[in-house]
């Protein structure tokens, strides 16, 4: 705490979309309470503090750092190490820092193929000289450097020691507020805990009526108009609810969109995608091997569907690379 009794807070975004920052603003009038009880020392999206200001701080100067975003570049990793060094409590805030999230789907590819797609092949790109990002470039004024784009996206917990994990894409404002209140009250659970979420699955919070699941055909969401009272999974829509930690209040199923899994693996699950794959395939209504293979064969893109938010934190972390660091 600062001499004025205020909490010293830092917020950072690494590889993320900015939605986590919006989630904090969504505290609405409570953001004024945050301002009353905390001094915000560093928050690139909202206040003008530089990296050198953080570097100049004594170690453990920041009380709590809410770090959102995955580790995609050397800059992300540098800031992870720096903010760990300067913070008493480091929170992996949101799905990207917690488990990799959408940026983590980059682990289906490698650096080279991502660069080629983004800088050469994308229909809107005009790059006749085929220029790709270089970490070092000579310009008339001297040598300039940009961060290295890593081959593999990592979670915050894979590069630094994390105290708490606050899941969600983005975390729900009422859950963020509950965590802020717990921090202020000094009422935090043991280190390493998932905070701002529940100990049950999304299904536990979902209002839809569940019956025996017997699936003859799986549908993608644009292929069916679902019954709005029945369990979406019962209707053949792949819903990540059974494999996903609750805490969001089952927001997506409430508006008849299937859960996509952003709150991460359900408690005690080591691999969210494997758990969802197991849940999906075991309810297939097939009594022969051929029929089962046909029904599950219609599911589009299993890895992208089951690991939409958690590929970097899965057991295998990414798709296989050959010796040269390329996707085989």
């Amino acid at each position: 705490m600062a001499p004025n009794g205020k909490l010293k807070l830092a917020l950072y975004w690494a590889a993320s979309c900015g939605g986590c920052e919006i989630a904090i603003v969504e505290l609405r009038e409570k953001i004024l309470i945050v301002d009353q009880v905390a001094d915000i020392l560093f928050w690139p999206v909202a206040i003008d503090a530089k990296y050198k200001d953080v570097e100049a701080m004594p170690d453990k100067h920041i009380d709590v750092c809410l770090f959102n975003g995955a580790i995609r570049t050397s800059e992300n990793e540098h800031l992870a190490h720096l903010l760990r060094q300067k913070s008493k409590v480091l929170v992996a805030f949101g799905s990207c820092a917690h488990e990799g999230c959408i940026p983590g789907l980059g682990n289906l590819f490698d650096r080279q193929s991502i660069f080629e797609r983004v800088y050469l092949e994308a229909p809107s790109v005009d790059n006749p000289q085929k220029i790709l990002p270089q970490t070092t470039t000579q310009v008339p004024e001297g040598e300039i450097h940009i961060p290295k784009f890593y081959n593999t996206v990592k979670t915050l917990g894979q590069v630094e020691d994390v105290d708490y994990f606050l899941p969600g894409c983005p975390p729900q404002p009422h859950q963020i507020w509950a965590v802020i209140e717990a921090i202020l009250a000094g009422n935090l659970p043991p280190k390493g805990s998932v905070v701002g979420a529940n100990e049950k699955t999304v299904c536990d919070e979902c209002k839809h009526k569940r019956e025996e699941k017997r699936i003859k055909k799986f549908y993608r969401i644009h292929e069916i108009i679902p019954d709005t009272t029945q369990c979406l999974f019962d209707q053949g829509i792949i819903c990540a609810g059974p494999a996903t930690r609750g805490g969001c209040g089952a927001l997506c199923p409430q508006v008849n969109m299937p859960c996509r899994g952003c709150y991460g693996p359900a408690p005690h699950q080591i691999d969210q995608g494997a758990a969802l794959l197991s849940a999906v395939s075991s309810v297939v209504d097939a009594d022969t091997e051929e029929e089962a293979a046909r029904i599950v064969g219609e599911i589009a893109d299993p890895i992208g569907t089951f690991y939409r938010f958690s590929l970097p934190s899965s057991l295998l972390h990414r798709v296989r690379l050959n010796e040269g660091g390329k996707v085989a």
């Binding site: 080591i270 794959l277 009594d287 299993p302 057991l315 798709v319 296989r320």
Partner: protein
């Protein structure tokens, strides 16, 4: 490790009632089997979570075998093997997307009376995986960014 000295490390998840019994019989009957398959006995292949297989690959297995009781009628618990044949085809597709070749994962059925079939599978599968070379997923997990 050069390919000359490469010995595949294979994990076999076998159900207690059928394939484990076959493997046991193959052993006591002195049938020829390579020493590459480490067997994990489970009560039923329907109990195998896909995470078991992913964990085996993540921790160094070059190949994985899942084998249980012939459907429809052999399962000790009536329908455990139904769960298996619903899960495994989807897991196969997932492994392929991960870049793990089809030849590294075998699932099927061997009854307690089919010990020679088990011994043959261990010989054939070991050679198949040897031909594919090391998977070495640990190297990938531990590699640092250059």
């Amino acid at each position: 490790m050069s390919d000359k000295t490469f010995e595949p490390h294979i994990v076999g998840f076998l159900c207690n009632w059928c394939t484990y019994t076959a493997a046991d019989t193959a052993g006591v009957s002195r049938m020829e089997q390579p020493p590459n398959v480490d067997i994990i006995r489970l009560m039923c292949t329907g109990r195998i979570e896909p995470a078991f297989i992913l964990k085996a690959f993540a921790e160094g297995a070059d190949g994985v075998i899942v084998s249980g009781c012939h459907p429809p009628g052999d399962c000790h618990y009536n329908s455990g093997n139904f769960k298996t044949f619903r899960r495994m085809p989807l897991l196969e597709r997932l492994l392929e997307q991960y870049g793990i070749e089809k030849g590294r994962f075998h699932w099927g059925w061997i009854s307690g009376a089919e010990a020679p079939k088990w011994a043959q599978l261990t010989r054939d599968f070991t050679e198949q995986v040897r031909g594919l070379g090391p998977l070495d997923w640990k190297r990938q997990l531990e590699s640092k960014e250059d």
